[in-house]
């Protein structure tokens, strides 16, 4: 196995073909933190007019590298960087900016209450020094936005009212805006730009990125989403444990190979095996949904069998994000009923849902599924606090022991129940959230975005755990914007569009392309309703 992986990393410089200029060159970049070598002799090159993807798990050094470039961290001595053959100092934000590097981070850095014109001006300043001339500013803004296909953007509303993809493109437009007499931006670094975009919106963003490279700049594209990386990038660099383990063109690279490069070993087979273990075929109906209606959902009906893993797919605004919260009692119903264990319910509260055996795992770890400022064990026990026989005295020692067992079972690292939830990495946080849900012994588990912001290794562990729960008879309903994840885990997938179920895929028909296809079919412009 090791040999074949080595064969796949075809060596440095492969993507910098003769005749194509290397815009950005980094050599021997290392970064040591106390007790940890985050980057180990990393060298990377960006070619003009090309998109290079940077991939790796959480902890691989991906974000450290980007931060070093951005000037947040200073690298260990011996690091060198050139932009267009001009050397510049790493570890200084001013030097990076002066050299011509621009960054669009994951949260975009926009001010939500301001409109697009003001947000554009944030980076560069207004055209007039003492008195803002709105009309001039708007004209200049429009010109810049037109370069990214945003000429019809609504400039009068706060950016919070824009579509997510428009915001992402706006952030890019802002990053690339320079005075006419200044040299153009040479390198654009994008960190997880599609994190909050739905499938249809991603293509629009990619179009904008391609325009950027067409002008001669180079793009470094950092992402967890491997299918996007494979479709957008020209070449990629894989980091693992701070080292470059592969650097090659994207041409001919298969998804599972890429995963193997990132994780270092074969995991998809284990997932497939785990998924195959789940009960197939019809079982007793555990959850019957009849004509459920919410703000977007309209008269949705379906059944979930015992031990079944049912997927819910759909674009933003299709009702996919609403369904889990209706089932979990988190949002009020506009009509319909749900049958659990023979009981018919016409409304739910979170508490009532829990008592009925329905456990909801929301998507947002910061605001909904967990409380970051509480300890891990406090989070795990919150829905059902064990306070001894009388229900009056919490034994912290017992609680610690119980939660440590759960953390051990789900391989949470570090296995410390007294650690602040916020101190864990995304993947471990999600495992803690899952532990909380599993501890309640649910009959029906409703999960929204089970592996959002989770690295590949933790993802595999979570998938395996879900498959195991299902094998034990728990019905699982998974809502996700990632068709790949759904295809991997679910035996049956319901596709939603405009609040209704438009398609049911089952068995062999549950594939990434089928799910994707059904999700965006009929949405010709590719942009999602917000």
């Amino acid at each position: 196995m090791e040999t074949s992986i080595d064969n796949l990393s075809l060596g440095i410089g492969d993507s910098g073909a003769d005749g194509e200029r290397e815009v950005l060159r980094l050599r021997h970049v290392s970064k040591t933190f106390p007790g940890q070598r985050a980057l180990d002799d990393v060298s990377i090159g960006l070619t003009a007019g090309r998109i290079r993807a940077l991939v790796g798990q959480n902890g691989s050094g991906k974000s450290t590298l980007v931060k070093t470039l951005a000037g947040v961290h200073e690298p260990d001595s011996g690091a060198q960087a050139w932009l267009d053959d001009n050397e510049f100092a790493l570890g200084s934000a001013a030097a990076a900016h002066a050299a011509g590097l621009r960054f669009v981070h994951q949260d975009l850095g926009l001010v939500w209450e301001l409109d697009a014109v003001d947000n554009l001006a944030l980076g560069r300043g207004y055209r007039s020094k003492y008195w803002i001339k709105r009309r001039d500013q708007v004209t200049a803004a429009r010109a810049q936005l037109a370069r990214f296909g945003l000429e019809h953007l609504d400039l009068s509303v706060p950016v919070s009212d824009l579509a997510a993809v428009e915001r992402a493109m706006l952030a890019i437009a802002r990053g690339l805006w320079v005075d006419p007499d200044q040299p153009p931006v040479r390198v654009l670094v994008l960190d997880e730009p599609t994190a909050s975009l739905a499938v249809g919106e991603v293509d629009r963003l990619f179009e904008a990125i391609r325009r950027v490279v067409a002008s001669g700049a180079a793009v470094l594209y950092v992402s967890h989403r491997l299918d996007e990386v494979l479709s957008l990038a020209d070449s990629l660099t894989v980091l693992r444990d701070g080292k470059v383990v592969a650097e090659r063109g994207v041409e001919g690279l298969e998804h599972r190979t890429l995963v193997r490069l990132i994780v270092g070993h074969e995991i998809e087979q284990a997932l497939a095996d785990a998924a195959a273990d789940t009960q197939r075929g019809p079982g007793a109906v555990a959850l019957g949904v009849t004509r459920l209606t919410g703000r977007v959902l309209r008269d949705v009906s379906f059944d979930v069998a015992r031990g079944e893993v049912l997927g819910i797919a759909g674009l933003t605004g299709s009702g996919r994000e609403e369904l889990p919260y209706l089932l979990g009692g988190a949002r009020p119903w506009g009509g319909g009923s749900v049958r659990i264990d023979g009981r018919e319910l016409t409304s739910l509260t979170p508490r009532f849902a829990l008592e009925s055996g329905v456990v909801l795992v929301p998507a947002d770890r910061h605001r909904q599924s967990a409380i970051p400022e509480l300890l891990a064990r406090e989070n795990i026990v919150l829905p059902r606090i064990d306070a001894g026989g009388s229900g009056l005295w919490i034994s912290v020692r017992k609680e610690r022991r119980e939660t440590r067992e759960w953390m051990h079972r789900l391989e949470v690292r570090p296995e410390n129940p007294d650690r602040l939830f916020a101190a864990f990495s995304g993947g471990n946080q999600q495992k803690i959230v899952l532990a909380r849900a599993m501890r309640l012994g649910p009959r029906i588990l409703v999960i929204d975005e089970p592996v959002q912001g989770v690295d590949v290794g933790a993802k595999a562990a979570i998938w395996a755990e879900l498959a195991q729960i299902a094998a034990g008879g728990v019905s699982i309903l998974v809502a996700s914007s990632d068709a790949e994840d759904l295809a991997l885990l679910c035996e049956r997938v319901l596709v939603l569009r405009h609040g209704v179920i438009v398609r049911e895929l089952s068995g062999a028909a549950v594939t990434t392309s089928n799910i994707l296809g059904e999700t965006i079919a009929g949405d010709l412009t590719g942009s999602a309703a917000t």
Partner: protein, 348 residues
């Protein structure tokens, strides 16, 4: 990121960490103040009268602190707590001057507290008014009510039953101190070992997440507000028994010290709002002020001391990030600067 022991960390994990300055800086500062004033004004500072007086006079303040800690943990400020002290004292005094016995007066004083708690909850939980603003309004109303009850002048004289309720001595220790000890044990239990306390912390640090976890957020917040007013009313009645009179402005001076102690206490021991921390803070502040007064400082020194202590405590707490209601705005700012580390914001 630091790792934190839980509320049980009153007895922290390792002895070394237990004695670290950041954990128990309050105790060190208290000792320091003690030493300073012992050397500065030993003749007055180191007398038994000074210390017994300090202990029992601060007991009432500390009881108010303990009361307001409950809604505070859940993210609600009850600024009316101090006025409840005054109002309940005035009410009880009023009753005793109108033919009612001590016991009746005490019971009705407490019931008045419960009524205020219900009223506050109605505003904050029922109508969704910001707790700061709501209880600011309530406190103003209560001050007016106190004025009505006292007819804008002091009510002097309480029956012996009330007097013994507030100023008896048991094995040489004034009874308010005993009340304080019992209250401290109760509140400590609630915050650290009762499920209800956990719910309050959860609500304070993540209301929506708590709701989704099945916590009855409205109910718990309501109960915490009622418990706060009840505790404050109890402090008020004890105060009446101790000083034997009630004046219109009785409660006002308790607001700042009570909150200063709560916030300062939250920087101690467990880095969350906690009972031992609050008690240490109360007496630390009182020691400092008493010492300064004995050394001849003017009376404004009291306000200065509390103000500075409150600001220092809040600045420290924000730096560590453990106070729920204030944390939200700081967290939002930090999130804007940094961006969420692992979980992208889901589309809405």
């Amino acid at each position: 990121m630091t790792t934190e022991p839980s509320g049980s960390g009153v007895i922290p994990r390792t002895a070394l960490r237990a004695l670290s300055f950041s954990r128990i800086s309050g105790l060190y500062v208290w000792v320091l103040l003690f030493v300073i004033f012992s050397l500065w004004v030993p003749s007055t500072f180191l007398t038994g009268t000074t210390w017994t007086g300090l202990l029992s006079s601060q007991a009432v303040t500390a009881m108010v602190t303990l009361s307001l800690m409950l809604p505070l943990v859940a993210g609600a400020y009850d600024l009316s707590a101090a006025q409840v002290v005054g109002m309940s004292a005035a009410f009880a005094a009023y009753l005793t001057h109108h033919g009612f016995g001590s016991t009746t007066a005490i019971v009705f004083g407490l019931l008045a507290g419960v009524a205020v708690g219900v009223f506050n909850a109605g505003l904050i939980v029922g109508l969704g008014v910001n707790s700061f603003i709501a209880t600011l309004g309530t406190s103003s109303i209560l001050m007016a009510v106190t004025g009505i009850l006292t007819a804008d002048e002091e009510i002097v004289g309480v029956p012996s039953g009330l007097q013994s309720f507030g100023s008896r001595e048991i094995i040489g220790v004034a009874i308010p101190v005993w009340y304080l000890i019992i209250m401290a044990l109760i509140v400590a239990y609630v915050l650290e070992r009762a499920p209800f306390g956990r719910y309050l912390f959860a609500i304070g640090h993540g209301r929506e997440a708590a709701r989704l976890a099945g916590v009855r957020t409205n109910f718990c917040t309501t109960i915490s507000l009622i418990m706060c007013s009840l505790g404050s009313a109890f402090a008020g009645v004890v105060l009446l028994g101790r000083i034997g009179s009630a004046e219109p402005d009785l409660g006002t001076s308790y607001l700042l010290p009570a909150y200063a102690a709560a916030f300062l206490g939250a920087t101690q021991f467990t880095r969350r709002v906690n009972v031992p921390g609050a008690l240490v803070a109360t007496y630390l502040l009182a020691t400092g002020i008493t010492g300064l007064q004995l050394a001849g400082a003017a009376s404004w020194i009291q306000n200065m001391f509390y103000g500075v202590a409150l600001l220092a405590a809040v600045a420290l707490s924000l730096h560590e990030g453990r106070l729920p209601p204030l944390r939200r705005s700081v967290r939002a700012k930090k999130a804007a600067d940094r961006g969420p580390p692992n979980a992208p914001r889901p589309d809405e």
